[in-house]
């Protein structure tokens, strides 16, 4: 009886940990969002960008975009909450809008075309995946560990930031 109860608790603990882990993969899923202020052609129609769009995420300005410019923001979770300060024409008044943009969970890097999004087009029109070129990924080093594998370089002697 005692052994059964113990096993039950162990199974429950494992299930709980797996559930928490899975929840973390959803609520903590990070995305890099590229916000494009570029003309979009869709269904035979042309959607032109505003003269200036200022993008705020979590109250912080992340980009000030004119025509043909791209801004970058990061997003944790499946919704990007942005505040856009839009000036349609040069010298015009600024209009402020807040949006929640759904972000697909499986995409790491997402391109959002702002004119398309603001025009209320479907997701496949304004959202696409950004895939970095393999050259870019492989550019920064690297080889297999060196002979100095016992850590003096990294933990004690060399790099001050890593040394405790």
């Amino acid at each position: 009886m005692k052994a059964k109860r113990r096993l039950l608790f162990q199974i429950l603990a494992v299930v709980l940990l797996v559930a928490i882990g899975y929840t973390m993969t959803i609520i903590g899923r990070g995305h890099t969002i590229y916000l494009d202020s570029k003309t979009l052609e869709y269904d035979g129609q042309t959607y032109k960008p505003a003269y200036k769009t200022v993008v705020y995420v979590d109250g912080q300005q992340v980009a000030k975009l004119y025509d043909k410019e791209r801004g970058v923001a990061t997003c944790i979770g499946q919704t990007l909450t942005v505040t856009l300060e839009i000036t349609q024409q040069k010298g015009g008044t600024e209009e402020v809008y807040a949006y929640n943009i759904p972000v697909p969970r499986k995409m790491d890097n997402v391109i959002i075309n702002l004119p398309g999004f603001l025009a209320g087009l479907p997701e496949e029109a304004y959202l696409s995946e950004f895939i970095p070129s393999p050259d870019e990924v492989a550019a920064d080093e690297t080889d297999v560990p060196s002979d100095d594998d016992f850590g003096m370089e990294d933990m004690g002697m060399g790099d001050e930031s890593a040394a405790q």
Binding site: L17, V18, I20, G21, M24, T25, I27, G28, R29, G30, H31, T74, I76, D108, P134, V137, A138, E141, T142, D143, V144, P145, D148, D149, F150, G151, M152, E153, D154, M155, G156, M157, E160, S161, A162, A163, Q164
Partner: protein
């Protein structure tokens, strides 16, 4: 008049001498810091900031050493295994693109089964090498470093799925030399952080460390905790009292390894990246040195020793290069100084522990001989 050895009857001088003898290492470090701090010339706010950062970064790791000491297994050099488990958890969190605190929690969850398995393994090995736990755990950490390298360098990619090329070596398998944790850098430290007089206090990190301390205090009072203390004091007596000594020792290693995994995750989120193949190698050494500097010994360590040790050891770490530069004109002298002091303090603590043990043994022998002589005298 007969001389007594009752502690209360000691003079102030004797008490002072006893205190100094019992706290040689912390006193030595207080003196080193007292000399080095003015020489280094850092402002107090800078120094306090650095100490606070390092306290948040290291305290959890050092706390993981307390339970094996309680169980009489000495300093757990095998905590490196927990650190490896924490790193594997972080590699997966980075690969699955889970950022911030959720990424840390996920890494901790991934590290748990690995830490438990490694803890059981090291515990069982140490049960076969009773009395030589420290050197055995030290050697196991080297052995497992090779296994870790094999897993991370050859199995991650072809056997263990790694999705992102940015993590893999250009050849297509194995993890790169450095794993970036930029997406979770200081996410724990910055959440609820407050500035007091220019010093950043990582409140949430300190709260987690506080919870770990509370866990240790509570654990000591549990049946298992009492068993561990009994095992630590005398294994044979504990066995006679019906305690499963081997199981108790294995549990202590499992708890220590799991804690070390969590500690490594907290440590690395503060740093913001880690050298994949070397980050864990010296972590045990520095954690043990810090605990010993705090006044702990191989058979006795407390939470107070952890905090005093982190403060003293890391103050020395911060000021040593600048002091070296101020005294000799070469900051590398200070760099070497702080590294050799880490090893020296462990050596000193081990020597002191052994000499104290021998002294106590010989005192006990002398006492026994005196009692026997007295008995013989009385029977004549």
């Amino acid at each position: 008049m007969k001389k007594t050895n009752v502690p209360g009857s000691q003079s102030f001088g004797q008490k002072l001498l006893q205190f100094i003898r019992n706290n040689t290492v912390p006193i030595m470090f207080i003196l080193i810091c007292a000399y080095c701090i003015p020489q280094a010339g850092f402002s107090w706010s800078y120094l306090l900031n650095e100490v606070m950062t390092r306290l948040g970064r290291n305290a959890f790791l050092i706390l993981s050493l307390l339970i094996p000491v309680m169980a009489g297994m000495g300093m757990n050099f095998g905590m490196t295994l927990g650190a490896m488990a924490g790193e594997i958890g972080l590699i997966f969190a980075a690969d699955w693109q889970v950022w911030g605190i959720p990424g840390m929690i996920l890494a901790a969850i991934v590290s748990i089964p690995i830490s438990v398995a490694l803890g059981v393994m090291i515990g069982k090995i140490l049960n076969r090498s009773k009395g030589r736990e420290m050197i055995t755990s030290y050697m196991i950490s080297f052995t497992m470093n090779g296994v870790y390298q094999f897993v991370v360098l050859f199995m991650m990619g072809p056997i263990i799925p790694i999705v992102h090329d940015s993590l893999k070596l250009p050849r297509g398998y194995g993890i790169r030399n450095t794993v970036s944790l930029l997406s979770m850098r200081q996410s724990l430290d910055n959440l609820l952080a407050v500035q007091v007089g220019g010093v950043k206090i990582p409140v949430l990190t300190l709260l987690i460390i506080g919870l770990a301390c509370l866990f240790i205090v509570w654990f000591r009072k549990t049946k298992l905790g009492q068993d561990m203390r009994a095992v630590g004091q005398d294994m044979e007596v504990a066995r006679d009292a019906g305690i499963n000594v081997e199981r108790t020792r294995v549990i202590s290693m499992v708890i220590s390894t799991v804690f070390a995994g969590f500690g490594m995750i907290i440590y690395l989120q503060n740093v913001g990246n880690f050298p994949t193949y070397t980050a864990h190698t010296q972590i045990g050494m520095f954690a043990i040195a810090a605990l010993l500097v705090g006044g702990a010994s191989v058979d006795r360590a407390s939470i107070g020793n952890v905090f005093l040790g982190v403060i003293l050891f890391h103050t020395m770490f911060i000021v040593a290069p600048k002091t070296g530069a101020a005294i000799t004109g070469d900051s590398m002298i200070g760099e070497y100084f702080r590294v050799f002091v880490s090893y020296a303090v462990i050596t000193l603590a081990l020597v002191m522990y052994e000499s104290k043990k021998r002294k106590n043994k010989s005192l006990a022998g002398q006492q026994l001989a005196a009692e026997q002589a007295a008995e013989e005298e009385a029977s004549k």
